[in-house]
């Protein structure tokens, strides 16, 4: 596991049924592109998060396949429809096999 990986999410706590809410996610990760070279001139191997998914109560909101051109600390902003009270689950898949998850509860009034 890459060190210091910390997901951060901004999501509303309350919503009205069927409302499209804006979600912002950021995860700290160096996203080594595999293009850079170290002092010896050898290539630093690629180490990125290659997939990000967001689900609400098990239903997919967005599934992002990422390549090395995504910046350090990958940031995503998108919208989700919230039909009922439930939980948003965010999952990041690292090249090294690590999986980082975070979740947020959204209450529908």
């Amino acid at each position: 596991m890459a060190s210091g990986v910390k997901p951060r999410i901004k999501a509303p706590k309350k919503a009205t049924a069927g409302e499209a809410v804006t979600l912002k996610t950021l995860i700290s990760h160096k996203m080594e592109s595999g293009q850079r070279k170290n002092k010896d001139g050898s290539v630093i191997p690629r180490s990125i998060i290659n997939r990000f998914t967001c689900e609400f109560n098990g239903k997919s909101v967005v599934d992002v396949t990422m390549e090395s051109a995504i910046s350090t600390n990958p940031y995503f902003e998108f919208e989700a429809v919230v039909p009922e009270t439930g939980e948003l689950v965010f999952t990041w898949y690292d090249d090294d096999g690590s999986v980082y998850t975070a979740s947020k509860k959204v209450a529908v009034a």
Binding site: A20, V21, T22, S33, Q35, R36, K37, E55, F56, K59, S60, V61, V62, D63, V64, T65, M66, E67, S68, A69, I70, S71, T72, P74, Y75, F76, E77, F78, E79, A80, V81, V82, P83
Partner: protein, 138 residues
């Protein structure tokens, strides 16, 4: 080793092909597009790609894409060593078919967004971004 007329011709053709190849700058990007669309026609319009005109730092260039009714949107940076950037697959609970992220650009180039619509058609948009400092390390 002796070269027959056939060998010489083959060598010449190979050399010619090699010199032509570097001029296909966007070959990798074209291949990526073909892999995504399966060779289908890509129409212009229907996709909104928002990217800065000038990016001072190629390491984090904010871009956002929006395509009404899209099931997936692929982002490409045609001038990067590896042109693929990201593919957004929208699920059933996606609000607007839009997403924003931050990408790396190696230099001044076109950023291309290709959207796969629900009816199976494809649409694209592209935007030229001038990059002051490239973001791929040296």
């Amino acid at each position: 080793m002796e070269f027959s007329r056939r060998d010489t011709l083959a060598l010449g053709l190979g050399a010619a092909a090699l010199t032509v190849l570097p001029f296909r700058l966007n070959a990798a990007a074209d291949d990526a597009i073909a892999a995504f669309t399966g060779g289908a026609d890509v129409a212009d319009g229907g996709v909104t790609l928002t990217a800065p005109e000038i990016a001072e730092n190629g390491n984090t260039v904010p871009v956002s894409v929006e395509a009404e009714g899209a099931t997936a949107i692929m982002l490409l940076a045609s001038g990067n060593p590896t042109p693929g950037v990201a593919t957004f697959n929208f699920g059933e609970l996606a609000g607007a078919h839009a997403a924003s992220t931050r990408i790396r650009l190696a230099g001044t180039q076109d950023v291309v967004a290709i959207a796969k619509m629900a009816d199976g058609s494809f649409a694209k948009a592209s935007s030229t971004v001038k990059v002051t400092i490239g973001g791929c390390g040296g």
